[in-house]
Amino acid sequence: MQKTLAVISYLVLAAVTAVLLVMTILQSAGVTGVFSGMPIIAVFSVFVLSLAVSLFMFNPKLSVYHIGFYLLHAGIVIFLVSGLIYTVSGQSVSAAPPNIESITPTIAYQIKQQGGDAGELTDFYNRIGNSSTGETVSFDFGFRIPAFKTEYYEDENGNPTSNVKHYEATLEFRASDGSTETETLTVNHPIYHGGYKIYLMSAQENSTYGYQEVTLLFKKDKTEFLSDAGIVLTVIGTFLMCFGKARDKARDKTKDGQDKKDKKEKDKKKTAGKAPGTKPQKAAVKGGGAA
């Protein structure tokens, strides 16, 4: 059983390593969004679990607790280092294009686009600026929002309420060769384009001027997969450490109980061998007690 488990864990480890290698090659070839989202978290989870099982199989004396200990602390370090790299690796330029007001100060640039009507927006924007720091980021593509849709919840009578159910922005990108590409952007589902991860942050009706204010976030974070890996390591490590410790203790307790049982039987045999009339001794150790 142990041998089979070892073989399975090694095979899973090899398979996941191969998947990670393919993903790395894809990322290097320019495919965006490979190391992000739920699939990469799932891959990392399988990787870490199979790594832990393999470690245990390689050295059975290494307890689950210890494997958890190393994974957890390595995970925290990796997460913090990736955060540090993200914080220090910023970009800076100097101007903001018209109709765009930049808000957040660091590498992530939040823009507000006034309008929303395709007729008003004839130009594709190819840079965004930050008015507070004077930084601007230029893209090697242009973009615009030709359409924006807001759905509202309905009351019991079927009339729309003021509570928003769904935001959906249509983003049109124009490459340097003039070709265009359209993508749909919703909250919680960022899209990838030109090395940027683009988020739909919020949208609200500007009642004074009668237009929709759409807030987008452009983010370039090359260490995102490291952060995800750190999270996966930390969570799995914590579970292994906390639950593994409990299991180890339970095993020790059972072993201890078995030892006491053996001692009891040995003592019984001893007393049985003594001369008749001798009062048998109580050999059992008063056991129990909390673990």
Partner: protein
């Protein structure tokens, strides 16, 4: 179900929990069985409210504090079953029951949200349910652990070594079970925030308080391993409960502008 009816069921549930707790200390076997029956009835009425909230929402009932606390109370029972069988925690049953009673008493004074809830776009995420549920499991366990800490002070005062050891082991098992779920909840929140707002961490009041709660528990786990500091470890579980209460209630009430304003 109307809000008045919900309130009545809530009151019945709370009273049944109190009765089950009181009778649970009886030496008589019959009293113990009655206590168990009352506890089951209390859980059933608790589950009725949770089920009603679920139907009204058409989604997991984590919409308002009222719904979260009702669910939390029912979660105590689930967590107890695990602790009972995996960590030999039968002696902790009354403490789980009394906390369920306290939570349901709080729920009784809250306004029942019987109307259909509007689910904002930011909350429409696959991370939402596991994030909240992980926190609920950990909150239950930390609450019971903190109660055991208070009881351990009494045992220490009475110099009842057996009880003290039992409580200390109980606290350790509860924290060991709850801590990973708290870590999972926090990191699921971080992944969700990255998918929604483009940041794993925003130094929001709720986030900081939940981080402090985790740090308190990790201090407990580390102190417990260091001989000269072991005797102070318990205090950090109590501190973790205080932080947990601040995270759950006070940040929403007095936290000002928060990204977690709807939670």
């Amino acid at each position: 179900m109307t809000s008045t009816l919900l309130r009545i069921v809530c009151l019945i549930s709370a009273l049944l929990y109190y009765a089950a707790f009181a009778l649970g200390f009886g030496k008589n076997n019959i009293l113990k069985r009655v206590s168990f029956g009352l506890w089951m009835a209390a859980i059933a009425s608790n589950v009725v409210i949770v089920g009603n909230n679920w139907i009204v929402n058409g989604y997991v009932p984590f919409v308002s504090m009222y719904q979260v606390l009702t669910f939390l109370s029912a979660t105590f029972a689930l967590v107890y079953v695990y602790i009972r069988y995996m960590h030999n925690g039968a002696f902790m049953k009354p403490y789980f029951i009394i906390l369920q009673a306290v939570v349901m008493t709080g729920v009784f004074f809250m306004e029942a949200s019987a109307s259909v809830w509007s689910f904002p776009p930011a909350l429409q995420s696959a991370y939402f349910v596991p994030h909240v549920f992980s926190y609920m499991i950990s909150y239950c366990l930390v609450a019971v652990a903190a109660l055991l800490v208070i009881l351990s002070f009494f045992a220490q005062y009475k110099k009842d070594e057996t009880r003290l050891r039992q409580y200390e082991n109980g606290i350790y098992h509860l924290v060991c079970t709850g801590f990973p779920f708290m870590v999972l909840g926090m990191f699921l929140g971080a992944l969700w925030a990255n998918a929604c707002w483009g940041n794993y961490w925003s130094w929001d009041n709720k986030e900081i308080w939940s981080l402090v709660t985790i740090l308190m528990l990790s201090v407990y786990l580390h102190f417990r391993r260091a001989a000269p500091l072991k005797k102070y470890a318990r205090y950090f579980v109590l501190a973790a409960l205080v932080c947990e209460i601040v995270t759950l209630f006070f940040v929403n009430m007095f936290g000002g502008d928060s990204m977690h304003a709807y939670s």
